[in-house]
Amino acid sequence: MNQYNLSQLKQLEAESIHILRDAMSQFDNPIMLYSIGKDSSVMVRLAQKAFYPGKVPFKLLHINSTWKFREMLEFRDAFCSEQNLDLLVHYNKEGFEAGVNPFDYGSRKYTDIMKTQALLQALSDGKYDCAFGGARRDEEKSRAKERIYSFRDKHHQWDPKNQRPELWGLYNGKINPGESVRCFPISNWTELDVWQYIRLEGIPIVPLYYAKERPVVERDGQWIMVDDERMRLKEGETPQSRMVRFRTLGCYPLTGAVESNADTIEKIVAEMMEARDSERSTRVIDHDGDSSMEQKKREGYF
């Protein structure tokens, strides 16, 4: 065996750092999209490593749909101040004032207004030419073909028919004014890699990932957490306390919890290995139709 073997996780780390630095050398005004989730946490750690001993040379942008879990927001503020990161928060003011919520508007319309539109507003306002995102190719079918540098036109739209070929480690960052690139440094990581990296590096994550007694109601086969008083209960629904945790985090009325006793990473992974449902099955918006994610991506959502 060759003495110069690099473990797969170290290879992934090196590749991600390469991508982050490459984008920094090609773009003038990058931003990192920060969703507070575990993938974002990993991406932030990689950015810290890429520019060490310097500071992360770009800001983090959080799109607040105004329906996030409270624990997420608490975590976000504590994490960013501890890690000395520049955080920008944006929400869709018009939508908020109009009272757009997932109950009256349905998950599709709500997501479009409070997430997609909010994101596009923030990106246009900041005139960012590159936005780092924590999407992974193993998450969902339409993502398996996503580029590492994903080109977006002036309207932030993604055209699956017209993607730039991507070869070797040579990324094409050429754009005209107003256009942008979404850059995905952890494209090649799997869910398991992310968990192992969090464990190895001791990366802080939102406590919602760990099992705890939480107030939930059962809705369409999923456990939905009653995170605050805005949650509208349907007839016959009474919140009950259950040991649950979240595999992905989003807006609390749209994110299903799974019943679990896993309160450590090791237990989470053990559970995951036995789990026979993929990660995104707890996302309500993925079930809007067979090609729903692809449709949302075309419109500018991640």
Partner: protein
């Protein structure tokens, strides 16, 4: 096993990136689906969805799960029933993690295969057992070879429909092996399987007792790929100058090949300023030694100015620094590539301008024949000469994938228009002028050479008088394995016995001698032809009859050889099937006996007044 051990094991696995290539109906997606399914990576909800969708798509048997539906991501593709873009899949076993580039086999998507191959260490080429080696198989093998894939698994699929016949498998194996001799595929492995039934994919089949080799998964788990990586030539393209405060100044980048140690003497390109490596910095602490593909930050002993896009290398091992080079391009744009077109070129973390000085030929990916062309269309592959405004720091692609590869970007649309592989810098004498094409370049070269030719006191006609014949080159060509070597050797002996001055030059003599500085392979063929042509000029000048062999010559090669041999003549003999399109050989031999073949050559040489009639 407890979960701690499991996680540590997962972390320390090594990584294999591979691609799968096959034609539309070779069962490629089914194979990947089978690998994922048998290694338990398809989740229940995905499986449920899959069963539902399998029923929807009418052309499938209700009972059988259509694994391909799991893989074909985009809407349009699902409707057409073919994969049209590269998709990446992930799975792992206790020993390894795998990244699969699932690339389409459809005719018009050469670009996707090249994309998938560019980051892969290994390729699986699928062959339908009922169809054998077909045109598409050849194309896939060629593209893998051109993109520098060192390991190829030839998976003979659908063995269930060929009665699991050993003979079918062996025939395909021989066909592929023979055809691929001319390619640069170094390690080839063959395996009979049925993706649909699961034979020899993950589990050993009881229907192929005659096959003693490993299953596909075993093979993927054990093949050693790090052994074929470049740890010799240290190349460090600087991506980012890290200057957080006055006390720290480091150069961040990825070691794309080779190894670097603290204290190593290095130079920066293009300035060639020298210094030594003081520290190798990472967020996890300093290292004494770092190697490809690690991403690090180098601190040098001296304050030298280096910016993003420049390169740090060992002072004792420097890549070519040049503004012009020759390379192969895979054309990926709808707009045709023409000579004199200008582009942006991205190479080793640097972007500059590039101009196509010459479009030497295009390569037919099905037959590997070179042909003159005025333009390259989508999915065509061609050989070009390129000049850049700033110098690039490069190595031949066959030696170094990372510093030998580039992409061309259309300056108007910003599209990635081509993927390129550098063959080598252009020879000075061969450097392109403004309006030259390859033909006039060779003619110019020959004219200049002849003008400078230094003759001795013995003239050609003096030699011809004494020898009773002129100097002449006799080239035997045609497909591989047609007995050319035996004919050539016998011809030399026959001539020698008739008092003619003949000399047979074996191919391996050139390869292991004159050619030993260029790696043997498809991409260096042009340079081999050039040297052979010059040799032919020299040996025939000495009055000898120069007999040699060149496998699989096409029109382009012959024209080049003839030009380079001039003013002396080249006599061309084809043995077996002709590979020429327009060119007519001087003699075409089919299945003659050895003796008859030699006599025929002698006869026609005599008819052409090259050798005296009495020799016959």
């Amino acid at each position: 096993m407890n979960i701690d051990t499991f996680l540590n094991q997962h972390e320390n696995k090594d990584l294999l990136r591979f691609l799968t290539s096959g034609s539309v109906d070779d069962g490629k997606s089914t194979l990947i689906g089978r690998l994922l399914y048998d290694s338990k990576l398809i989740y229940e909800d995905q499986l449920a969805k899959l069963k539902e969708e399998s029923k929807k798509s009418s052309n499938k048997d209700e009972e059988e799960i259509d694994y391909s539906l799991l893989l074909d991501g985009l809407k349009a593709e699902r409707e057409q029933g073919i994969t049209i873009d590269v998709a990446y899949r992930y799975f792992s076993t206790p020993n390894r993690k795998f990244i699969i580039a699932d690339t389409p086999g459809h005719e018009q998507y050469t670009r996707n295969m090249a994309t998938g191959a560019s980051t892969a260490d290994l390729a699986i080429i699928l062959i339908d057992a009922r169809k054998g080696v077909i045109t598409q198989t050849k194309r896939h093998a060629f593209i893998n070879s051109l993109l520098g894939i060192k390991h190829v698994i030839v998976a003979v699929n659908k063995m269930d429909l060929a009665d699991y016949s050993e003979q079918v498998f062996l025939d395909i194996m021989n066909d592929f092996n023979e055809f691929s001799q001319q390619l640069d595929l170094q390690n080839k492995y063959y395996i009979p399987l049925s993706a649909l039934k699961g034979d020899n994919v993950v589990d050993r089949s009881d229907k192929t007792d005659w096959y003693k080799g490993p299953t596909l998964l075993e093979m993927l788990e054990t093949v050693n790929v790090t052994g074929t990586r470049n740890f010799k030539d240290f190349r460090f393209p600087v991506q980012w100058v890290n200057r957080p405060n006055l006390d720290f100044r480091g150069f961040s980048g990825t070691i794309v090949s080779g190894v670097v140690k603290q204290g190593d003497t290095v130079i920066a390109l293009p300035s060639r300023k020298e210094s030594r490596v003081q520290r190798i910095v990472t967020a996890d602490g300093d290292m004494e030694e770092a190697f490809a593909p690690q991403a690090v930050t180098l601190v040098l002993e001296d304050e030298i100015d280096i910016s993003s896009g420049e390169m740090i290398v060992h002072a004792s091992n420097v890549p070519t620094v040049s503004n012009s080079f020759e390379g192969y391009v895979v054309w990926m744009d709808d707009k045709e590539l023409k000579k004199s077109d200008t582009f942006l070129i991205r190479h080793a973390g640097k972007t500059t301008k590039a101009r196509i000085d010459a479009l030497k030929y295009h390569l037919d990916v099905n037959t590997l024949q070179k042909g003159r062309t005025m333009g390259l269309r989508l999915n065509e592959i061609g050989n070009v000469s390129i000049t850049t405004t700033q110098p690039l720091f490069f190595d031949p692609y066959t030696k170094n994938r990372e510093t030998g590869s580039f992409v061309l970007i259309d300056p108007i649309t910003n599209n990635t228009a081509a993927a390129g592989m550098i063959v080598d810098a252009l020879f000075d004498d061969y450097a392109p002028g403004d309006d030259d094409n390859e033909e006039t370049r060779i003619t110019d070269h020959v004219e200049k050479r002849e003008f400078l030719w230094d003759n001795g006191l013995v003239t050609q006609s003096d030699r011809a008088k004494r020898n009773h014949h002129r100097g002449k080159a006799v080239l035997l060509t045609g497909a591989v394995g047609t007995g050319k070597r035996d004919i050539a050797k016998m011809l030399e002996k026959r001539m020698f016995d008739s008092n003619l001055q003949a000399y047979y030059l074996g191919v391996s003599n050139v390869q292991s001698g004159l050619d030993c500085d260029i790696p043997l392979g498809f991409t260096t063929k042009d340079e081999h032809v050039r040297r052979l042509g010059e040799l032919s000029r020299i040996i025939t000048d000495s009055g000898q009859i120069f007999i040699t062999i060149y496998d699989g010559a096409d029109d382009y090669d012959i024209e080049k050889l003839k030009s380079l041999s001039s003013p002396n003549e080249l006599f061309v003999v084809i043995v077996g099937e002709s590979l020429f399109k327009d060119f007519e050989a001087d003699l075409h031999l089919y299945d003659q006996s050895l003796e008859n073949a030699v006599e025929e050559i002698m006869k026609i040489l005599s008819e052409n007044n090259i050798i005296p009639e009495y020799c016959i």
